[in-house]
Structures are given as structure tokens and as C-alpha cells.
């Protein structure tokens, strides 16, 4: 199972290694060694993180590293776009630079791959196996690279684009490492805050004068779409800059060549090569598209139960037995639906890692009430894709599901129907205020 999970990471590491070898001219062996060394470092580093820190912080650090590589790509892309003669600069050559880049790329790839092992404990053996496989793949990629035709040229910016795209693809395969979903949330919040600030600064009280059809337009700025598109812009702009930089790289100066045919032939060769040099950059665009797709349609199997309809006794007591048709102690999320007076409310019950039952609303205080599913030691908010570790379910705040008062008696859970309806109304009222667009 774990091996299957690791296959895409192995493939992308092999491709990264191949591009590193092709992109750097400093010598195949050196690139392979520094790349594999980096891979080992990254994998062991991840192991250390998982041993020392709670999983959320460990994943957070790796995700931070990925974020930094995206920033680096931005830097490279802007420089490439401003600096058409990228090739001519000498800052980005030399052995030291090559070793550093290969090592860093390997390190990130190693950490991302190793993070997939975190689910199965922190013993050293699987990590060592991963490192060995990583080294073998890098050497194999080095051998394969020899067979790739000469014309397949990988320039500096394209190399950066491919490597970062593959890293982000790897991270998109794991809910906890995925960068894109949190990025969409950030962008969305930013747009949201921006509109509020803007209205405040213009002294427009934003909920009084604005009519509902105006909200239809402003609502766009609050919606999930703005987050999605904004994040797309942040992801793809560097790649587009790089494609632009390659496509519009100035033609070489041929004015000194007297014979027209010879002059034109040189230009034709340059244009021809330039076209080939676009291939890696376009490949990176494809890979990143796949990453976005994976992030929006995660392949993780959610435990996503259909809500079970429950009723209350005349005094307003909802009772759910611990071991009825459904075993509340099985560690899974159990969702319920309660209807009263034409309104309905959802909640779920789950047994946390500590062995205690928790009852929470199927909604949080900030998102549209799309509800939660369960995945890998967490519950996930369907709306913002935030992962809530199981041991924090039952605490309030942020995107945590809103806790609900309950009591345990008669070997079951008792919930007060009025409390439930009130909590639900209060929560949902604030989060659906912006006409259906969510907040």
C-alpha cells in the first residue's frame, strides 16, 4: 500500500534527477551524487521532524520548504523575464552552484517522499529503504539521460520550473502537504479582507446600503472562485514568465556575417533550438496542472458517511446509543441529521485518539457549512479543505467543527435538540451571510 503511494514520488524524483543531469553541465556523476545526497538528507530530516515534533508542525515545516521553492521559482522566473541573456550570466554556473541546486532539489524531493511514510511509524528501516531507492533512481536517471537526444536542451529557468512543478505535484498527492488548497484560502481571505478594508476606508457600511444584486458582483470577491483563480495566478505566473522569456529571447546578433544565406541559417538554427527549449517549460506547465487537479480532486479516500436522520423525544432529547446499529467507538466519523420546524441541523460524533467521544456540529465558524469528511487521522472541511487533526476535534476556533454540549448516560450520547438548533442557526447564520457565496 505504502509502496503504491510512493510510486508517483519515485517517478517524479527520477524525472527531477534526469533534468538535473541534463540541465547542469558540471558532470553527471557529481549531479547524481549531490542529488542523491540531498534526497537522503531530506528523507532523514523528515524522519527527525516526525520523531521530534507533532505531525502538524512537521508537515508544516516541509510545506514551508515547498513554499520557499515556489518563491525561488518566482525569483528565477522574474530574472529570466528581465534578463533575456540568462545564459550569459556567470552567477548561475560553476560546481558549487550545481552541487547546491542538486542537493536542495534532492532534499525537497526526499522530504516530500518521506512524509508519505509518516503514517507507518517512525522506525528507521523504511526511510533507509527509501533513500536507497532514491539513490538507485538517480543513477538510473543519469544513465537514461545519456540516451536522450542532444537537442533536448534544458536551460536554467526551465530546469527550475520542472523541478518545482514536480515537487508541487508530489506535495499535492498528500492532503497534509498540499499547498494549493491553503493558498486558495489565503487568497480568498485576502480578497475578503481587502473588500472590507476598502469599504471601511471609503466609509461605506458594507451590509446596509449594498443591495443584494450588487452583492452578486461583490460576492465574487468573497467566493471560493476568487481564491481558486488567485492561487492559479500565483502558481502559473512564474511558468508563463519563463515560457515568455524563452520564446522571446532575442535572436543572436548576426549582422557581422556578410553572406545572407549563412546569416539566415544561423537564425534558423537558433529559432529551432529555442523551440526545443520550450519543451521542458511546457512540461512543467502540464505537471503543475496535474498538481492543481490533484489538489482540487484529492485521491484520498474520504470516509464520507451519509447523515443518519435522528429524532428527539417530546422533551427535546436526542439519544444515540454507543453500540446500536452503529458502533460509535469505531474511530470513524458518524454524521447525523436532525429536522425540526422545517429547519435542519447536522452534527457528527467521533471517538478521538484519547478514547473519548466528541460531538460537534457538521460546520465551522468560518466556512460555508459544507460539512466534514474524515481522512488519515484528520477530519477535513469540504469547503476550505483544511485538515483538523482528530485530537483537536471538539475544541473550538478556526475551521474546527463547532463543539456541541452533550452528556453520556444510559450507554449513549444525549443531545438537547434546542441547543443543537440554536448552535446550528448561530453558526450558519454568520457563515452564509453573504448570499450563498460563502465567506
Amino acid at each position: 500500500m505504502i509502496v503504491i503511494k510512493l510510486i508517483p514520488h519515485a517517478v517524479s524524483w527520477a524525472v527531477i534527477a534526469l533534468f538535473l543531469v541534463r540541465g547542469f553541465h558540471a558532470g553527471r556523476l557529481m549531479v547524481i551524487i549531490s542529488g542523491s545526497g540531498g534526497f537522503a538528507l531530506g528523507a532523514l530530516g523528515a524522519l527527525v521532524l516526525f520523531r521530534l515534533l507533532p505531525p502538524e508542525s512537521a508537515f508544516g515545516i516541509i510545506r514551508g520548504g515547498l513554499g520557499v521553492s515556489l518563491l525561488l521559482l518566482w525569483g528565477v522566473a522574474v530574472m529570466a523575464a528581465y534578463r533575456p541573456f540568462w545564459k550569459r550570466t556567470t552567477y548561475f554556473e560553476g560546481t558549487g552552484f550545481t552541487v547546491m541546486c542538486a542537493c536542495l532539489a534532492g532534499c525537497m524531493a526526499g522530504a516530500v517522499s518521506a512524509s508519505r511514510l509518516s503514517g507507518s511509524g517512525t522506525s528507521l528501516a523504511p526511510y533507509l529503504a527509501l533513500i536507497l531507492v532514491g539513490g538507485a533512481l538517480a543513477s538510473y536517471a543519469g544513465a537514461v539521460e545519456k540516451r536522450i537526444p542532444e537537442w533536448f536542451i534544458v536551460g536554467g529557468p526551465s530546469l527550475a520550473a520542472v523541478v518545482v512543478a514536480l515537487l508541487l505535484y508530489g506535495s499535492s498527492l498528500s492532503l497534509r502537504l498540499d499547498l494549493f488548497a491553503p493558498l486558495t484560502m489565503k487568497v480568498m481571505k485576502f480578497a475578503h479582507d481587502f473588500v472590507h478594508q476598502f469599504m471601511e476606508s471609503m466609509l461605506i457600511p458594507d451590509h446596509v446600503f449594498i443591495r443584494s444584486n450588487l452583492w452578486k458582483y461583490i460576492g465574487v470577491l468573497f467566493g471560493k472562485e476568487i481564491g481558486f483563480w488567485g492561487a492559479l495566478v500565483i502558481w502559473f505566473t512564474p511558468l508563463l514568465l519563463i515560457v515568455y522569456a524563452i520564446q522571446f529571447e532575442p535572436l543572436p546578433s548576426v549582422a557581422h556575417i556578410r553572406q545572407g544565406a549563412e546569416r539566415r541559417r544561423l537564425l534558423a538554427v537558433f529559432i529551432h533550438i529555442r523551440r526545443y527549449r520550450l519543451i521542458p517549460a511546457l512540461l512543467a506547465v502540464l505537471v503543475l496542472t496535474a498538481a492543481v487537479y490533484r489538489s482540487c480532486v484529492p485521491s484520498v479516500e474520504y470516509w464520507d458517511p451519509k447523515p443518519i436522520v435522528v429524532t428527539a423525544t417530546p422533551v427535546g432529547d436526542i439519544f444515540i446509543p454507543r453500540k446500536g446499529d452503529i458502533d460509535l467507538e469505531d474511530g470513524k466519523l458518524h454524521k447525523y441529521l436532525f429536522r425540526q420546524g422545517g429547519k435542519e441541523a447536522r452534527f457528527f460524533i467521533i471517538m478521538g485518539p484519547s478514547g473519548k467521544l466528541t460531538v460537534v456540529l457538521d460546520a465551522c465558524a468560518i466556512c460555508k457549512p459544507d460539512g466534514y469528511g474524515q481522512a488519515e487521522g484528520t477530519v477535513i472541511c469540504y469547503y476550505c479543505k483544511t485538515l483538523i487533526p482528530l485530537d483537536t476535534v471538539g475544541r473550538s476556533g478556526g475551521c474546527n467543527p463547532v463543539p456541541l454540549a452533550f452528556s453520556e448516560k444510559d450507554d449513549g450520547v444525549h443531545i438537547n435538540a434546542v441547543t443543537l438548533m440554536n448552535e446550528w442557526d448561530n453558526t450558519v447564520q454568520t457563515t452564509t451571510k453573504v448570499k450563498g457565496a460563502g465567506k
Partner: protein, 225 residues
């Protein structure tokens, strides 16, 4: 010593039973202007097409500009034609709906990349500076043939082949075309092979060979000019 740009031994081309070119041994030194004469069906065009890489021999060896044409692949042959050969035919083979400049630029395009300024100056060189934007239909036969010359030399070929380029022209236009070719050759120093029926045209060359039924029957060096 001047190297031979063309060297054939036992060069043969047959179409089924018909042997259009019997085993032929010819050497053409670099820079020479060779006229090829012979009656109709004697194999002149066949010879030219082989030398120009438009056709492949049935037997024998053929080296042009140091390239062994028999050893080249189709792609190699195409590159050879593109970079080494310029051809002028009796029929002009210009694209009717393109202007003179565009016709020349088309040859540039197939060679590498088009360059309009260079195409214009090539047409100016053949004396058509005032007819750049005319289509072939709007040009006289002699002018059309001069567009063809501009097109043939635009990629700086080492070898210029002419298959009766003046066959359709009157005396005056013929003289103009021949003079133009001579002038261009003295500047660009390409080798010329010119197939013709016309003794007078053949006399512009340094040397004339006569084919008869695919056999080289006479090889004359011009003593004057």
C-alpha cells in the same frame, strides 16, 4: 589545383528498359561554367537531376561538393539541395499568386528564415527593383526568368543548374539573362551547369559536353572568352 566540384564514375540512370544515362564519367572543376548539349531525349535533364539531387542514380558513383549523394538519406539529400544547389528551369515554376519578393522569400523560408530586405536586394541585383510587388503573371518571360535567378541564388548555392532557362525567351532576353548570370557568377563564384539546345547559349560556357542517347560523345573546351 582546383578541386572537382562534381565527379562521376559509371553514373547510370535507367527507367525500366530505357537507359537514359549510360555509364558516364565526368569531372567538373569548381567554378567552371559547363554547357550540356544534345538532342531531345539524350539524357541532359536526367544528368542534371542526378547532379542536383532531385533524382537518384541506378548505378555508379556521384560526388558533388564532396558529398557522396548515393550515401545520403532523403533528409540529407533535402539538406544538400537546400544548401548547395540553385536551379532554374525552362518553365519558371513561380507561385502565381505570390509577388516577386514573396516568391524569393519562399526560397529563403524553405532554406532557413525569410528576410524581406535581402530578398528585395536580390531582386534589385537582377534588375527588378521596380517590379518587386508584381505577380509572375504581370511580368514578361525574361523578367520571370530573372525572378527565378534571384530565387536560385538567394541561398548562395555553390552550384547553379539551369535546364534550358532561356528556352522560352527571345534573343534579346536570352542575352540579358546570360549576361546577368555571368555577372552574378563573377561575384558569387558558383559553378554553373547549363543545359541548352542553343549553340549560342552554350558558347557562354567554359566547356561544352555533348550527350547522345545517354552517352558522352564530345567534350569541348571553349578557346575564347
Amino acid at each position: 589545383m582546383i578541386a572537382n566540384i562534381i565527379q562521376t564514375t559509371g553514373l547510370t540512370r535507367s527507367y525500366g528498359d530505357i537507359c537514359a544515362l549510360k555509364p558516364l564519367d565526368v569531372q567538373v572543376p569548381e567554378g567552371e561554367w559547363l554547357s550540356v548539349m544534345g538532342h531531345s531525349g539524350s539524357g541532359k535533364s536526367t544528368f542534371m537531376n542526378l547532379v542536383g539531387g532531385l533524382d537518384r542514380p541506378s548505378a555508379g558513383s556521384l560526388s558533388v561538393g564532396g558529398e557522396d549523394l548515393l550515401a545520403l538519406t532523403e533528409d540529407g539529400l533535402a539538406r544538400f539541395r537546400r544548401e548547395f544547389i540553385g536551379i532554374i528551369f525552362q518553365q519558371h515554376h513561380l507561385v502565381p499568386y505570390l509577388t516577386a519578393v514573396e516568391n524569393v522569400m519562399m526560397a529563403q523560408y524553405f532554406h532557413s528564415v525569410p528576410d524581406e530586405a535581402e530578398a528585395r536586394s536580390a531582386l534589385e541585383r537582377v534588375g527588378l527593383g521596380h517590379r518587386l510587388k508584381n505577380r509572375p503573371g504581370e511580368l514578361s518571360g525574361g523578367e520571370q526568368q530573372r525572378v527565378c535567378i534571384a530565387r536560385a541564388i538567394i541561398n548562395s548555392p555553390k552550384l547553379l543548374l539551369g535546364d534550358e532557362p532561356t528556352g522560352n525567351l527571345d534573343h534579346k532576353s536570352t542575352i540579358m539573362v546570360m549576361e546577368l548570370l555571368r555577372e552574378l557568377r563573377s561575384e558569387e563564384r558558383f559553378t554553373v551547369i547549363m543545359v541548352t539546345h542553343n549553340q549560342e547559349v552554350a558558347a557562354w560556357g567554359d566547356r561544352t559536353i555533348y550527350l547522345d542517347d545517354g552517352v558522352l560523345v564530345r567534350d569541348e573546351r571553349a578557346n575564347s572568352r
